[in-house]
Symmetry: C4
Subunit: 388 residues, 4 copies
């Protein structure tokens, strides 16, 4: 793989934190929104007539952008992570047949075909709706959503089967009960199915409504089944989400924790314990993390970067592995000093509730933090005594 | 900061328990409800005509009240919690630019501007709807709600992106399938979007309804997606709520527990354990806490205040750190004595289920409580024997 | 208190398991359903005309029954659980002013007043709807529901405040945006509130629908808020329910377990552990509990009653404290014998999943059960060997 | 029981993994879908007229298939699992009176009766809707759904009672408030009940809408109760689902784990611990399980079958009890080798998050896995050194 391929590949990843990566994403999203917006507005007669040129411009810019993007991504796919030496075109083919590759292709292909085959442009423009699918690549939790749906697919599917069975049985019953009275609306089962789905999902348009007592009884039961379907799906997903959130946070924290020397010395059991409760927080350079006098409800561990703690005689700098903010948790008083990020800094936040539980469970960790906290308080007190 | 500033600041906090604080809150809420009510009713012709003077009075009283409140709060903001000596106007500016300060300003400013610029009063009065936002400051769980939404924002946002994508795709499809048949309702994608949102949220007004088979198929799938969105959000929030509730109760209890001498002597591990299960309960002076003969399903620890236990020979008084109600849990019989709050009292309640689990897990705690319970039972038995 | 009072009191409790108690409940429910049914049907002209006498009879029988019930319950209230000697009329007054007493009074009083004051009987009969409230006394989980709502009331109320705020703001905005176009439907804020509540709850009757673009935008956002309200309430209640269910089952099991000699000898920690996983099951006399050859997915402990295990040479009887069904869990094979309840029997069921986890956690318990299981298997094998 | 009975019985079970079992299921589902589809389409005039013969064919094939299926299943029921020697017809009678047996009978009987009694065929064909109930036997999670509903039935029923009470009270109030103004829609309580159920379930057809201020107030409260019912059911079911999913996975894993020699040597406590976190995965022969260079987020244990790990000098084969994929978890680097299923293989997957927590909690297990991992890495390094 060439350096250019690698550079493009790294900067075009959805989570790239580099400047070119961020610029690319901003432009991409802007182009996407304006392109889809232009397509949507072009179907609205008054706007389309008044701003035809502008809409066409936005649309064609987006189309061109996505066409170039496809070619570039295909080219850079040769640099995709792979320890085995494969032919660049093998890697490119793999990307082209992946879900993301197919979406990117579908965002461009219809327009190419339309140009070649001279299709009706008004109709073909509607294919631009495919562009919104490109957003999924950038949605932070969409991977999580997929895992949740996959883990719970069996239960969700069972409820869906029950949904279909209720739908079919209800439509048949309504065909029998309401068909004679309203032959146009319930005269066939496919017609009654339309009533069924609007009722079972509790949408209730009101274009098809039962009028016979038996029909209304069935309708009432179908509505209650609708509530049950909602409730079952919500119950299933609530459970699956809880598990997935826990897993995700644990892994993210584990990666961060093992970078901090302070934690690496603790045993695996303690690290596994801590990784379940810390919350990561990224801070830009110059941002105030805690301010003197504020109430203190958490302490911080530094993963990377540098933090300046503004103490009385002279500020102190803490680097990776350092921690601060523990004094307020020990004394229960407001923050005794202001802390500012001296560089772009990655922190791990320990909430006060978790601090209390953790120190109860892991006395060895509590000792380290508390002793350092007491030492610092002592130093502050001395310097203040000396400064007055 | 002056004493006056401090007094006003302390009494105007939403959680102030002082008499002036309570009176202020009552008046504030009354004025708010009557002011908003007057504005709402003034838009209803018959009422507005019949009670014009009364409505104007209620409205203007509220407006005046909020104007004065704004000035007073701005003045008192100088006393806001801060250990660092800052200029009073720095603190005031901070409050004025905080969310609460801006809401309080928005509650008054439009009317001042309207007076200066001679705007139409009927229209300008509608701005009074901003007043209801002042309620959030007093809503007990709104801080919790904010934390929950913040913790789960990534997942919630992912579902929202999926919501928007489904909405756009569905509207485009309906524009294609239903547009030719119902050009007025589905003739443009923006028009079809209105159908989409009423369907995807399962609201189903019924003003725009598909009639073609393909359109109905898409509609059915959109409704099912609507259920899924409900269910996903419910699942995400259920999980985030469980975590936040646990955190909040733990912190509240920890603060209370560490005030009780009885608990302070226990190790940190036991306190952290107990703090997860006790429930706080505030009792007014003179209120009966337990009544002799009632079934007993909990015991009590006293944080502050005083409780009179009405035993046979003479009542006994228990102060902070004392506990009562344990006998019924040990014997399983009804309450053997009545207990009344002799002062305003703060209690911690230990439910019978938690009592059983806790004593199993923490024998040292169980011993203290059980021995005291047995001693008391013995004493009651003796005094009864002697009294007969 | 007299013996008659006590007898009536005990048999009229909603959970009485005696024969008179069961008969009373059956009659009560029958009378209630037929009385309410008669009232409901009497408002439907055709039925009322055709069966006037029958409906009047059912209605009046119910009214008479509830009048007698009120007097009897008042009389028997003197026997309500109380260790302190109080005057019978004090206890009766307490019952009369309790929620149940007031509902029972409200079920009768309107009709007495109507008779005295010669009110219009057709209207007064509608008061019979109060009778359905009597059902709450018998609803098994209604106490639980109350605890859940009480525990979560703060969070639920916060969401409700947000609901009201969104409702008021949305109605004001719609009054501004839609009022000029649809003065009849959105001409005043109270009128717009009707639209607001049907939309925010996603009911969507469709009698009031926005038509302006801005109005539809607001409507779309209101619908999404409606989903969020659903989701927040569901999330809050899911959490509160989980806690309450755990508490209830623990207490129910603790009461049963401590009656079993086998468990009483175990330490408190083991009992507290077991009480979280056993499930109670009441079996009528003569009912088969397990059948030879069925797959075995649980074992049983006997709390009270007697069970006959039909072994090959001669059946064996097990009394309180005995256990059976453990062999299938140990061997993984189908049930080796049939077990039938020889008397009305109360069992505690240990699911196979919990059996595996419990025996891993509590080896001392596992040993007792496993050794007895092996001994029994040996005995069965010998007897079979001898029988051939 | 005969061998033929046994063969039919084993292959007709819904979970049979044999080839005849799979073929039978595929044919069964195809026949079912085409039969029900034919019945549904036959009620739609245009299709029925155009394809009468085809529809009749599909319908009658399905009917014949189910008739034969009933007879065969009845015959094979003699082989149902039972250790006790019973008469074949006793077992057959048991099956015929079970739920599945009754559904299978109801799928055929109406048509037999219709033939004998010369009923109207158009009407009788609608009974084919019973056929969809046969799907429940094959729905993987339907047993789980049943357990969940059974476990939570008490709470669900309480909410349902509250639902009915609100419905009745609301209908009576609306009859009073709206009856005079809209006598046709609210003139009787049964009529008002129809409004009630469409509103309480938030379906909101809009065919019956309150117009009086009091009526709308009641309607608003009913809608809010509707949300609460949704939320309560969702909360109850979320909780019950979480418990049931945990139970099911534990049992499934326990069965698999105890087949693996590697795990059998660990203590019961470790097995119970592991059984809660492993996820089973079945892999077809020849399928790639992990690919060299992919990021590694889990390791695998082999329950049955064989896996080929493609290492540099020569591939190695791992059989039941072996594990692989642990190196990437230890080093945090991409997969160092590709692994392919050499036979149909049953795996247990250990997620990286669980791996970290498990190794912290169970050092003895961690040691075994880590030592083997290090040994393998050493070997790979040597072979690579030698190969170059």
């Amino acid at each position: 793989m060439s350096a250019a391929e690698k550079w493009v590949y790294d900067n075009s990843r959805p989570t790239a934190l580099t400047v070119p990566g961020r610029v690319f994403r901003a432009v991409h999203h802007l182009v996407l929104v304006s392109g889809v917006g232009a397509m949507v507005l072009a179907t609205h007669e008054p706007v389309a007539a008044a701003h035809a040129t502008l809409l066409a411009l936005a649309f064609n810019v987006a189309l061109g952008f996505f066409a170039v993007e496809y070619v570039v991504r295909l080219y850079a796919a040769a640099a995709s992570l792979s320890a085995e030496p494969t032919h660049p075109w093998t890697a490119r083919w793999e990307w082209a047949t992946s879900l993301n590759g197919l979406i990117d292709l579908a965002a461009v292909l219809p327009f190419v075909l339309a140009g070649l085959l001279a299709w009706n442009p008004a109709t073909i423009n509607l294919f631009a709706i495919v562009w919104v699918l490109k957003l999924f690549r950038y949605s932070p939790g969409s991977g999580m959503l997929q895992r949740v749906l996959r883990d719970a697919r069996e239960s969700l599917f069972s409820v869906f089967v029950a949904f279909i069975v209720v739908l079919l049985v209800a439509a048949t019953l309504m065909h029998v009960f309401e068909g004679p009275g309203q032959p146009k609306l319930y005269g066939s089962i496919p017609a009654a199915l339309w009533w069924g789905i609007t009722t079972l999902t509790t949408t209730g348009y009101g274009d098809v409504v039962p009028v016979s007592p038996l029909g209304r009884l069935v309708a009432g039961m179908v509505m209650i089944c609708g509530i049950a379907v909602f409730a079952l799906w919500a119950g299933i997903l609530a459970n699956a989400f809880a598990n997935e959130v826990r897993r995700r946070e644990f892994l993210r924290n584990w990666d961060l924790i093992t970078k901090v020397p302070f934690f690496r010395d603790l045993g695996a059991a303690t690290i596994a314990d801590i990784a379940q409760i810390l919350k990561p927080q990224a801070v830009e350079k110059g941002r105030t993390i805690i301010r003197r006098g504020d109430p203190g409800d958490c302490m911080f561990f530094i993963v990377s970067g540098e933090v300046e703690v503004r103490l009385a005689p002279e500020p102190r700098r803490l680097g990776p592995g350092g921690f601060f903010g523990e004094i307020a948790l020990i004394t229960g008083e407001p923050r005794s000093a202001t802390a500012v990020a001296a560089k772009e800094t990655q922190l791990l936040v320990l909430d006060i509730a978790d601090f209390r539980q953790l120190t109860a469970r892991r006395p060895e960790l509590a000792n380290v933090v508390t002793e350092e906290g007491l030492r610092r308080m002592e130093r502050v007190r001395q310097s203040r005594g000396g400064g007055q």
